[in-house]
Symmetry: D2
Subunit: 347 residues, 4 copies
């Protein structure tokens, strides 16, 4: 049986070879645990430098759900909830991890995975002017992801506007960057790490989907959120005994711009695929230029493709067509993209 | 300044005089605490008899939010959530009490405050057939209210259908009866206490809004839910030291059908009001025959009425009209309804 | 069958007749809900006046466990716990209500129900100098009760010392006053309401055990704790729809010093009982001058007494003697104490 | 500056070379995520085989705190707590992770880190016969660790007795095996994996401290605990996207008895150290034959040793001596032990 080529997500492989090399080289070195080692210090320094702000707190966690629940819980009092797009990862795909910490996720309507400053303004204004406001969950944080779950991205202007409304209503702004590299290297992007550090209270730089075996680097600029953060990492199960594994990986990713280089690779391949798909007449849901392609294709074509390729299923669009997701990543091989392109063109 | 007449809710007064009389008569009697007294036993017996099922567990709590959070938490494991109408009280007006216990409220779309067996079926089917089902909150309970927050009611057939789909997917069905009396005495109602006991796993009989100073009687038929329930009442702060106060009140309400008689009073007055409003050409949102009237009126009329009457504001409907709520209750005086009718007719 | 005389607790009866009278008088008056009525405003004003501080926030809740869990949860972040005596009510008799809100109760050893400033100092010093401090629950609040669960009381000097160490380590100090009246009127007491308001961040004045049908008045001096407190009351199920019932009761208790007068009644009777018991040669556990008597008596004597009187059992002391609790209260009848005294003397 | 030799814990290095080799070999292979890959299936099969029970559920998580909180929360209803030694890891060193899930940790006194069937029997009997049982946390699970936090181990007979009392009172028995290899290969051990599977409801096989980069394998025999367990892993942040990393590591550890072989290495070196220490006249706290040595040494000796070696500090024993911990592990080099022995002998 020949193995299919997997395009269904961006975590099908291990880590970038340079990371594996350094993990191997350091394997029998003795270091103290819990991220109190020189690798973590070095990685944090490099991230602060890339963000052009040496007052930032940087912490390393293993995965995205853990990171999200830890940050959200760190920022909210019991009666507060977190605003996000209805399609937000914390609202849909984390088995209620935020609610398990006691907080309601307040979903805002969204077609493309994004929410706007205006939506937040309206929600907060509505809440604080409602006669029964104390009987309702108080918004205490805004969660956005960039790229979103649908692959779309925020502009610098949009982010700044959201941040400003957050400050107006005393909300934290937290940005989930599980796929951050694929957003920052998209052709239409104008965000940068320094802008993210400036216009959020906390954000994270995703490693799991961008070159690492696992790992997310949380960057916190807000002083209140910084306080006692390591207690919360420990309590929520996110403090890795051999924390250096995270330090080594992020130190490697933030050496010689590796993080951005390997992200660009995924974008280049995704854009190639999109061009071929568009030429074929397929349309896109939540059109974007990042590494996730939500493409609407005839079911017959999909059936044929699925003999050799894995994609992930999104939704039935009409009687003959479905929307599916193809992902590229830092690890995607040119030859696999070529194979997929040929398969599409021959449909 | 003369006091306005209040129609904005159904808890503006104290308790039915018969209840006050019995509280007074028993005031210096010594009884053991925590509802382990003869009044609570008697009240529970009367409720079981009214439900025609002597295996039911009956518990008395002080208020609705407390009751809802205790029952929901009692029934769910950590990864489970509770399905309800988006307008459900637990989803909107309990400051995230259910989430504070760790559980997501899963809102289903609803125009009239009700949800259907079909909606539940579709949600559950969708969940358990989703490839990522373990990444999503598992539905573990259905919460409905009768009357709903919009005053509408379920038919016996609708309730039975909901119960059956709950059993199919191993969900608890919990019915919030904060205004139960006003549902069971509505002219178009065909539900009864025995049917409620049969077609739910737990429901509660609201006292706060129907004749008592405070108090809700939880009725549990499901054996798993019955287990250790008093521990949970205590933990969530709902175990009243002088529990007999609840026993005395429900014993009185369930003597000589007082609960139903005083409910009918509210319905009669509400129907009178509705007739006058309809004659005036006003329309109704979520039309119903219970004690809550959601009526759409010209803002000018409302302005005039508000000089002498309090109602609660619901929503702006168009440029010149708003939807507001008028409530009657067991305590509403005929003369006050008469005054309101005259005021409306003279607009 | 003749009814026994109950001395096992201080909540066997209803409410002081003056309270019942006012509840009755106001019964059909219409007021807005949720403690936003003139009775609650008046009661809060009287309490602020009695505390000699008009900046205090005052809230009314139904019961003690609810009050404790709401205050503790309001003050702590997720990684913080609350220090208290191992015998503290929140540690032993609230079915883990504090833990159910996510917080560890950190028990300190205590023989008499009290803890000292020195114990708190040592615990905090130990925590913050421990190499693994982030792996341990951070103390964020101190909970004491006055009188304690064993009937003992704090002196003004002791309270001040505890408050000062709390401020040194940035902990909230919360005092549970479920039986506060019986502490403040004890012959050896030197605390006052103004001192309590000054040397705690929050405390509550117990009504349930001191003259009310139910109800506890929370008094908050700390600005951070004041913030958004009503949201938390609602979320935890403590917001009474007909909040005026609490207002009326506390307004009555704080009119013409009723709260203190009825408390003194209980103390006078308890001291009479203690004198007789001491004369009989019985000894006391956690000796005190409040309304709870923990007396060590021969099992034979207890057996005889239990034919006519209820007390609560504490512990077997040796082969022939047990420690039991007798309580007096605002409601205890002189004739019942006389009967008990006669019974003891005749043993 | 020359680096000190670290003996303070058993997670100072990376992973066994065979694991690193396989991670490297599989690095660019494509597999599905979330432990639904062939490596995880193979590892689970090998563990089931080693436990001689093919009905066991096996799950892989990243770390110990996460594993503990997920299992404890999976097994308890809200009003239930978990019994363990006061020195238990969940009671002391997990920043209240269990409480953050809503459950009280019920500490039982212990000098050597172990608890007995008799202690559990007495606690449960006391709880269920207490008149106020519903006001107290109900024991719902027993947590033990083997080896314990102090390095001691349970005999098969002790474990069986504990399991039997758990079944008598309907408690789950959960065994934390963070250092399981070092227990099962101790010279005085008579436990085996099949016995652990038989006499617990769930236990875990620690990888982080025994040869892996990270990872713990949960083994569940109880059917109720098995149900929906992956939902809970996801919700609590423990579901690793590239789950195969865990599968590969445990597959390697359970191939050709590697797990036991490398464990024995640590034991051999620890026993050598203990012999030298005993010969020197030092005494041991919680004497044991596993990889943790709690040795009482003169402070002067410690000061001298600390120039070249890291150990972890436990407690001051008297004016001139302290108890400290030296750990060996799968990774400890013979030459380092030799250096330490020489240093001790020369004191």
């Amino acid at each position: 049986m020949s193995q299919k080529i997997l395009f269904q997500c961006d975590y099908n492989e291990g880590a970038h070879p340079l990371i594996m090399e350094r993990l191997l080289a350091s394997n029998m070195e003795q270091t103290p645990g819990y991220s109190e080692d020189h690798y973590c210090r070095s990685a944090a320094d490099k991230i602060r430098k890339a963000c052009e702000d040496d007052t930032l707190a940087v912490h390393f966690l293993v995965g995205g759900t853990q990171t999200n629940l830890t940050v959200v819980d760190a920022g909210l009092r019991s009666h507060q909830g977190v605003l996000c797009a209805v399609s937000g990862h914390i609202n849909v795909h984390e088995t209620g991890a935020v609610e398990a910490c006691g907080h309601k996720v307040l979903g805002l309507p969204s077609d493309d995975g994004k929410i706007s400053a205006e939506q937040i303004e309206n929600y907060c204004h509505g809440h604080f002017t409602n006669a029964s406001f104390e009987h309702m969950v108080q918004p205490g944080m805004v969660y956005i992801s960039n790229p979103t779950e649908l692959g779309t991205i925020y502009s610098a202007e949009e982010l700044k506007a959201i941040y400003e409304v957050c400050k107006k209503y005393d909300l934290y702004l937290f940005l989930d960057g599980a796929r951050l590299g694929y957003g920052l290297t998209a052709p239409d992007n104008d965000l940068t790490l320094p802008l993210l550090a400036k216009y959020t209270d906390a954000f994270y730089i995703g490693g799991t989907k961008v070159g690492a075996l696992f790992g997310e680097a949380i960057v916190i600029s807000n002083e209140s959120l910084k306080k006692d953060f390591r207690y919360l990492i420990k309590q929520r199960g996110g403090m890795l005994a051999k924390g250096r594994l995270l330090g080594i990986q992020f130190d490697t990713l933030f050496t010689d711009d590796l993080y951005f280089e390997i992200s660009k690779h995924a974008i280049t391949l995704a854009e190639e695929l999109r061009a071929v798909m568009a030429a074929k007449g397929y349309t896109f849901n939540a059109p974007n230029h990042t590494n996730q392609i939500f493409v609407v294709m005839p079911d017959e074509h999909l059936k044929k493709l699925s003999e050799k390729f894995e994609y992930s299923y999104d939704a039935q669009v009409d009687e003959t067509r479905s929307c599916v997701r193809f992902c590229t990543s830092w690890a995607t091989k040119d030859e696999n993209v070529k194979a997929l392109i040929e398969a599409i063109e021959s449909l």
